[in-house]
């Protein structure tokens, strides 16, 4: 009788479909995956440890570099946690602008995802279309924040500064135009027979498993679970906007694609509402010991200059306590659990990385499937290694 021998192959860490430096050890029976063991850590920078040596303002810059497709949402999650510790109220205008930035960033992140995911599966055209729009968004964000990838623009207590006058026009133009662009992606993929054959009934994750594995974000919603932090625990005035949470039914790669596409349309809707009802007013909280003064004041008022210097150099003391704050990042629930011991540096800053926890379900998803489907499954989870390895 012939003996069955499994073959072990190494996928990654340098492999275009692993979206970074993820390494998978696959045990194969022919083309069927018997066992998959992910190895991570190639991008580990010790962000949680580093934050313990920095003041609260300095640690903000670390958050940009977690999920680097999504800097502004990361800033937001961190700021929400520290603001909760400080117990300060953020002005309405800043809250609305934060929502707008987060949604722009969500669209940009989803565009990057659809571009690379489709490229993995073999549809190259989508890549160019999606990157065209992503470029527009990055341009718009650059107008306000001055940076494309690592903005550090959402600060503790509000925003670094208000948006410039030149911001609104391109933003409105984009919002009016974007639904047609999503239609374009849909004509390329949604009814595409090859796309459907590669993605339907591939990489399914049942509702129960998804919850048990702690999966969040579009992957969870594609399994039909209604959980979105924006609706469940509204932050930054999300409850004042009208939007829907798209759900999937079959929990396969195709449904994850559909959920993300619909999410982009909803995000566009939210941005439109922000632009319509953006209130006037300050973009920084009135908390003199925490929020740095305006740049103009620093140059004309000695007291402001001293205050600026003190806040930037020494930081500010945060009341003893511990809080958890989370946002719905494009990947899922991004949470910060910050413990303060009453000094100017975080005693412990724990990041709940959505990609890390979603990736934990990958072996469950791909075991028993074909090796070619592993590529589709990894793409559909939408991981960013900067966040997984921290």
């Amino acid at each position: 009788m012939a003996e069955t021998q499994y073959m072990t192959i190494n996928m990654g860490p340098q492999h275009p479909a692993t979206h970074g430096v993820l390494r998978l050890l696959l045990e194969l029976d022919g083309e069927i995956i018997v066992k998959a063991v992910p190895h991570m850590g190639y991008l580990h920078r010790g962000v949680e440890k580093l934050s313990e040596t920095m003041t609260y303002n300095q640690a903000l810059t670390l958050t940009d570099r977690l999920d680097y497709t999504n800097g502004l949402s990361n800033n937001l999650a961190y700021c929400l946690a520290v603001e909760k510790l400080l117990d300060i109220e953020i002005p309405k205008r800043a809250q609305y602008l934060r929502v707008m930035f987060a949604e722009f960033q969500r669209i940009a992140a989803h565009l990057l995802w659809i571009a690379t995911h489709a490229l993995d599966i073999g549809a190259m055209t989508v890549f160019f279309y999606a990157f065209r729009e992503r470029e527009t968004i990055l341009g718009i964000l650059e107008l306000a924040t001055g940076a494309r990838l690592t903005p550090s623009f959402i600060r503790i207590g509000g925003l670094a500064k208000d948006i410039p006058d030149t911001f609104e026009e391109p933003a409105r133009e984009f919002v009016a135009d974007f639904p047609q662009r999503v239609d374009e992606y849909e004509t390329l993929l949604t009814d595409n027979i090859i796309w459907k054959k590669r993605t339907r009934n591939v990489g399914a994750l049942s509702r129960e498993d998804a919850v048990n594995y702690g999966v969040t974000g579009p992957v969870l919603r594609a399994s039909g679970v209604y959980y979105d932090v924006r609706k469940a625990y509204p932050y930054s005035s999300y409850d004042e906007f009208d939007f829907e949470i798209p759900l999937g039914e079959n929990s396969d790669v195709y449904d994850r694609y559909l959920v993300r596409l619909r999410e982009m349309r909803q995000s566009n809707r939210i941005i439109k509402q922000v632009l319509e009802k953006l209130p006037e007013g300050p973009v920084r909280a009135k908390a003199l010991s925490v929020v740095a003064p305006d740049k103009e004041d620093v140059q004309s008022d000695i007291a402001a200059l001293i205050r600026h210097f003190k806040i930037m150099a020494e930081g500010f003391k945060v009341p003893r306590g511990e809080v958890y704050a989370s946002v719905e990042s494009p990947k899922g629930e991004l949470g910060f659990y910050v413990i303060s011991d009453g000094t100017n540096k975080p005693f412990r800053m724990r990041i709940r990385p959505p990609s890390f926890i979603n990736l934990g379900a990958l072996p469950k998803i791909i075991e028993g499937q074909m090796i070619a489907d592993a590529v589709a499954a990894i793409g559909s989870i939408d991981i960013v290694l900067g966040e997984i390895d921290r």
Binding site: E48, D87, V211, G335, R350, I357
Partner: protein, 173 residues
């Protein structure tokens, strides 16, 4: 009675001494429990009708080395969420360094704990008994020390010679 009070009362009724401390800060409730009863308590929280904490949102470690006195050095923090009641609860278990830094795994209760416990093991050196695959997850297997411990220097022990990695063959002679 708020939902949080209800949950805490239920826990106290069923576990008496197992509940060490209940704190509330900024509307978030943390319950410190006896680490020897962690599995019973977690199963109770997941399976009891009116609790149903079906999701483990996060699990992490904290090092309180600087704490004076005989307090336990480590704390394992579990953040639970109930999909049905849309409700969060934080459970903490204290782990003493003198008792070999170990406690029971919850990875069979929530599979999410599998990797999260590996990360705590990696970063703090706390062992989870009966974990199916307790290995380092982010750092290399040969790494010495546990970086998120407060006594681990931020720049590492190999700051002067960061690239002197020993190959497996050399290690095996």
């Amino acid at each position: 009675m708020s939902r949080a009070d209800e949950v805490v009362n239920k826990l106290k009724e069923n576990f008496h001494d197992g509940i060490i401390k209940v704190e509330e800060f900024r509307g978030e409730v943390s319950v410190t429990v006896d680490k020897n009863k962690i599995r019973d308590i977690m199963l109770f929280l997941r399976d009891t009708d009116k609790l149903l904490y079906d999701m483990l949102t996060d699990l992490c470690g904290v090092d309180y080395q600087c704490n004076a006195g005989d307090a336990a050095r480590f704390e394992i923090v579990y953040l639970l969420r109930s999909s049905k009641f849309n409700d969060r609860l934080r459970i903490k278990a204290r782990v003493r360094e003198e008792e070999d830094c170990q406690l029971s795994t919850v990875s069979d209760i929530w599979r999410a704990a599998d990797w999260l416990e590996r990360e705590v093991y990696d970063m703090f050196g706390i062992k989870f008994n009966n974990h199916p695959d307790l290995r380092r997850i982010l750092l290399v297997d040969e790494f010495v020390g546990h970086p998120l411990r407060k006594d681990f220097p931020t720049e590492g022990y190999d700051f002067a010679e960061p690239f002197s990695v020993q190959l497996e063959e050399e290690l095996n002679g």
